[in-house]
Amino acid sequence: MTYSAKLAALLGGSLLAGMAAAQDLPGSFDGVTVQAKLIGGQQYEALYARINEWQEATGATVEVISKKNHFELDREIKSDIATGQLGWCVGSNHSSFAPQYPGIYQDLRALLPEDALSGFVPATLDAATLDDRLVMLPRAQFDVSAVYYQKSLYEDEANKTAFEEEYGYPLAPPDTWDQLADQAKFFADPPDFYGTQYAGKEEAIAGRFYEILKANGGEFLNADGEPAFNSDAGVAALQWFVDLYAANAVPNGVPNYLWDDLGQGFASGTVAVNHDWPGWMGFFNDPESSKIAGNVGVAPPPKGSSGARSGWSGFHGFSVTEDCENPEAAASLVWFLTNEDSQKMESAAGPLPTRSAVWDHIIAEAEGDEYRSEALTAFQVAAEGAYPVPRSPSWIEMTNVVYPELQAAILGDKSAQEALDAAAEAATNVLMDAGEL
C-alpha cells in the first residue's frame, strides 16, 4: 500500500488522479451491515481476509452468512429464489450459472461510477453483461484452458524420429486438436501411461465439446436459439473424444472424471498432454504436489478445423442483489474485492486476473521465472480468444441432457450422429419447456 502510494506520488498528475479514484471508491457506510454469500474453499480465504480492510475503511460490517462450494451455493441460491429469501446483499457468482438467476442481481453500471469499471478487460465485462445489465464484477478467477505437457517427452530424440515417421510431421507441442489427438495416441501406453485425458461428465464435457465445436466452425445454438450442435462440425468434435477413447489414448475411466481427477492424473506423471485450467499452474510445477515439477511446458489452446482456437471460458465474480437494502455499500465491497490489490493477491497463486493493469503486473513479476512466463504467455493467448457459454438460462439444464448422450457415443453405445441427434432433440425440449423457443 505505502509502496504504491509512494509510486503514485512520484508519477504525474493524470495518472495520480486515476489511481486515487481507483483507491478511493469504498466510501463511508457507518453502521451498515452487508450480508454476503461467498464461495468457500481454502484458496479463496486469502481474499476474504481483505474484507477486514474494507470494514475499517468504510465503517460497515460484513456478515458472511454462507460459505459453500459452488454447486452447493447454486442450490442454496435457487432455494432462496424459490422461497423469496433474497434480502442478503452480496453473492458469489459464476458466468456459467449467472444466466440461470434471472433478474435477482442489480446492474452494477448503475451503482458504480464509470471510471471504477475502466480497468477491467472489456471482453470480460461484456461476458458478465446479461440483458444489458452488468450482473457481476469479475474477480481474478478467470478460467480459460491451455495445453500443459511433459517437456521431456517432446525433447526426446527417439520420440521425435518415431513420431515423424509415423505421422509425417515433426513432433512439437500441439497446435490443433488433431495434432493433440495424434500425439496422445503416440504417447499412450496403457495402463501405465496415457496420451491425454478429458473430463467426461456434466458441464465439463459439454463445455469441452462446445469449444471444439466452435473451433471447428460449428455453433451450439443457431441464430434462432435452436440447438444446432448436431451438425458436421459437431459430429467431428464428438468424434475427437470417441476416437481417443477407442484408441485407449485416454484412461478408460474418463467418462467419470471431473477436473480434480484430471489435475491429479497429470500431476501423477502418467499423462503426456493435458488441456487444463490456469488454476493448476502452480500445482503442476510444485514438487510437493506433482511428480513432474520442473518438466512442465505450457502451450496455447489448440485450433479446430476452422483455424480458430478453442476458448471456452468462465469466471467467478460478485453480484449485488435487487433486494439489497444498501446497494451502494454492497457495490463498494464487490468493487473492493475485485480491485487491483485484490486481483494482484489472488493471481499471485496462479489464477488469471480480469484487469489489464494486473495482467501487466503479473507478467512483470514472472520475469526470470521461465515456467511462469511461458504459462502466462500461453494463457494470454487463450484469454484473447476466450468466449463464455451460450447465455441461455437453460445452459446447465441443456448440458444435463446433452452429456449422457456424449458419454453414450464415447462408450460406443451410439454413433456420434445418433447421440448428437438425440441430444439436440432433448435440448430442444428443454428450451421449449422453459419457454425459450
Binding site: A82, T83, N252, T270, N400
Partner: protein, 298 residues
C-alpha cells in the same frame, strides 16, 4: 397433582406426532402440491399454475425414469439380500470367537462411523481406473495388466456401487443378527445335537427360524433408510456414465436442483415414496409373521 387429563397414551404420543407432523407431514403436503405444478425454482410464480397430473402423465411415458426406477429396485433387492447373508455370516463368525468380543464387535460396527458422503469419496477413489487402490493392487500382484474401468463398465459400475453400499451397511444386519444369536436359548441347540443333527441341519431348523425376526427387523430398518445410498452413488458416479447407474435419487436431485424443475422432481419423489412404502410394508408383514412364530415357541 393429577398427572393425566388427556388420555395418557395420546399425551405420550403427542410430542412424536407433533414433531413428525411439523418436519415431515407438512413439508410433504407442500411437495405434493408442487408435484401438480410446473414449479421451477428460478421462477417462483410457477408454483401457482395448477397443471393437474401432467407431470405424472409425462413420467408414465418416460423411459429414462422407468429404467432408473427398475435399476433402483434391482439395486435395493440385491444389496439388501446380500447384506443380510453377509451380515449373518459375520455375526456367526464373531459369535463363536472366544476372545476379543468387545474389539471384534467394535470393528464390526466400524463402517457405521463413516458418513455416506465419505464412503462415496473413498470408494470412488479406490475404484479409480488409473491411480485407484483396487487397480493398483491388481496390477502390482500381476493379476491384470489392464486398467479395469470399474466405474464405467455397465456391470462393474453397478458392482462397485454395490460393494460400497454393502461395505457401509452390512454392519446393521450383523448387529441385529448378533443380538439374536446372543439371546438364543441354549436348550434347543443341545437337543438338536443330542438328536444327531448335522451343523447345517441345526442351523437350518433351529438357529435360523430364531434369527429370522432379527434379520427382518434389520431389513425393515434398512429399507426405511435406503436413501442413505444416495450420498454414495451421487459421489461415486452420479448416475453416469451414459445413465448406466442412474437411480431414482440421482435423477430426482438433478432434476430438482441442477435443472431447477422442482415440480417434476416432486412427482418423481412421490413415486419413489410409494416404492419405499411397498418395500417397508412387505418387510413389516414378514416381521410380524416371524415374530408370532417365535412368540408361540417361546
Amino acid at each position: 397433582m393429577k398427572p393425566w387429563r388427556l388420555p395418557p397414551h395420546l399425551l405420550l404420543l403427542l410430542p412424536a406426532v407433533l414433531i413428525l407432523a411439523a418436519i415431515v407431514v407438512i413439508p410433504l403436503g407442500l411437495s405434493l402440491w408442487s408435484s401438480f405444478t410446473p414449479f421451477r425454482l428460478t421462477r417462483p410464480d410457477t408454483m401457482y399454475d395448477f397443471i393437474g397430473l401432467r407431470n405424472y402423465a409425462r413420467l408414465l411415458g418416460d423411459a429414462q425414469f422407468w429404467s432408473a426406477f427398475g435399476r433402483t429396485v434391482l439395486l435395493l433387492t440385491v444389496a439388501l439380500n446380500l447384506e443380510m447373508v453377509l451380515g449373518l455370516g459375520l455375526a456367526l463368525l464373531i459369535e463363536r470367537a472366544s476372545r476379543g468380543q468387545r474389539i471384534l464387535r467394535t470393528i464390526m460396527m466400524f463402517p457405521m462411523m463413516f458418513s455416506p458422503v465419505l464412503v462415496g469419496f473413498q470408494f470412488k477413489f479406490m475404484f479409480n481406473d488409473n491411480v485407484g487402490l483396487v487397480n493398483n493392487a491388481l496390477q502390482s500382484l500381476g493379476l491384470t495388466d489392464r486398467a479395469i474401468p470399474w466405474l464405467i463398465d455397465q456391470n462393474l459400475a453397478f458392482i462397485s456401487i454395490m460393494v460400497a453400499e454393502i461395505w457401509s451397511s452390512t454392519a446393521v444386519f450383523a448387529i441385529f443378527i448378533l443380538a439374536g444369536l446372543m439371546a438364543m436359548p441354549r436348550d434347543p441347540l443341545e437337543a438338536a445335537r443330542v438328536d444327531g443333527c448335522t451343523p447345517w441341519q441345526t442351523f437350518r431348523y433351529v438357529t435360523w427360524p430364531f434369527l429370522m425376526p432379527f434379520a427382518f427387523i434389520a431389513m425393515t430398518i434398512r429399507s426405511l433408510d435406503v436413501a442413505r445410498a444416495y450420498d454414495i452413488i451421487k459421489i461415486m458416479t452420479d448416475g453416469g456414465p451414459a445413465r448406466r447407474t442412474e437411480v431414482l435419487w440421482t435423477l430426482i436431485s438433478r432434476t430438482a436442483y441442477s435443472d431447477a424443475r422442482m415440480g417434476m422432481a416432486n412427482a418423481m419423489a412421490y413415486i419413489a415414496i410409494l416404492l419405499s412404502i411397498a418395500f417397508t410394508l412387505i418387510f413389516f408383514r414378514q416381521l410380524s409373521k416371524a415374530r408370532s412364530q417365535i412368540a408361540a415357541e417361546w
